[in-house]
Amino acid sequence: MNKYKRITLDGLIFQNPTFMLVLGTCPTLGLISSAMSAAGMGLTVVVILTLSNILISLMRKLIPNEVRIPCYIVIIATLVTLARMFLEKFVPDLYDSLGGFLALIVVNCIILGRAEAFANKHNVLESAVDGLATGMGFTCALTLMGIICEFIGKGSVFGLHIMDFKVGMFATPAGSFLVYGMCIALFTYVINLFERSKRVKANKLARENLLREAD
């Protein structure tokens, strides 16, 4: 059970694809000007990433090592095509707001990265958990930045009007870059603080043990 907890925490926080690894930046910067499209993108990626991790993990013994990347790309491209048809039919609003970035999920480094780094070495359940956790890490990060950008840039959150004051720059790519950069800085700072306090605690414990042994 501890293993799944570690995979989940890694995906959500310690190897968060958006803040720690800085992968999949194109859809992030393109879509965080609106919280709704950011969350929609994130959830689409969760579904595709989980399914691709499961499929690749199932086929990891069948796929020859030399041609693994083309095989992964075919699997991912098929899933993206299916997702695009599904969204066009059932959620046309989201389909329109995602625009060209829906097709570009194919070349999203997160999905290929997880396939290459995780799914081809682990069993199906672990890969599914990893896909879900990494995808949720991506979704949370995107939604958080989407809320910030939309609140400052358009004075609304998820399309709900909140205030009349707005700074238009934050609804453009320039504002997205600024918010993304500052969020990475803050996240790194907090993680560093957390790790430092853990290290301090460990050092203190070690010293106490030493003292006790000396006694």
Binding site: V22, L23, T25, C26, L29, G30, P70, I73, V74, A77, T78, V80, T81, R84, M85, G100, A103, L104, V106, V107, C109, L112, M169, T172, P173, A174, G175, S176, F177, L178, Y180, G181, M182, I184, A185, L186, T188, Y189, N192
Partner: protein
Amino acid sequence: MATFIAIILSAVLTDNFITVKTYGICPFLGVSKKTSSAVGMGVAVTLVMLIATLVTFPVYWYVMKPLGIDFLEIIFFIFIIASIVQMLEKIIQKISPSLYNTMGIYLPLITTNCAVLGVTELFLNDLSLPGDIVLDSATMNLGWAALYALFAGIGFTLVMVIMSGMREKLNYYKTPKAISGFPIAMVTACFICMAFMVFKSITIGG
């Protein structure tokens, strides 16, 4: 003539791939630490974008559309791009080892570059340009598409070079530990984007 100028202006300035469309951010942030590598990456991306458009455009309009398999375009395009990149790498390695050393190392990275897939997907729908010119399926042809792809690549290279110049200068200044690396690069990119927002006001003709 108006279309010609509109395509160049749109591809390089008003709809720049990095600063307006935010395609191809991974190489923009990853390979922009030195000007020489930024130029190498930019030229490689421009070349692949141009060749990919020259191949995918006819394949889509003259093969996939008549056969009714245009819904498979993502799978086809990504395969065409991957094969072009592989082929180019082999050809450059054979013809000019010195060029391979400066540019070839960036080629494998380009397969998973949004800018290349993005530019090939761009010509499947109507394309609106500054000056209220719209290229729809009747007026769009291979020449316009190739021109757009070439100048989109040039616009990409332009922003890459500006960014790498600014990052080289940034090396001389001390930044706090938390914002060094990606965050300060993104703040720099924010200023470049703000500068490019000015070009939105370009109009053509009357």
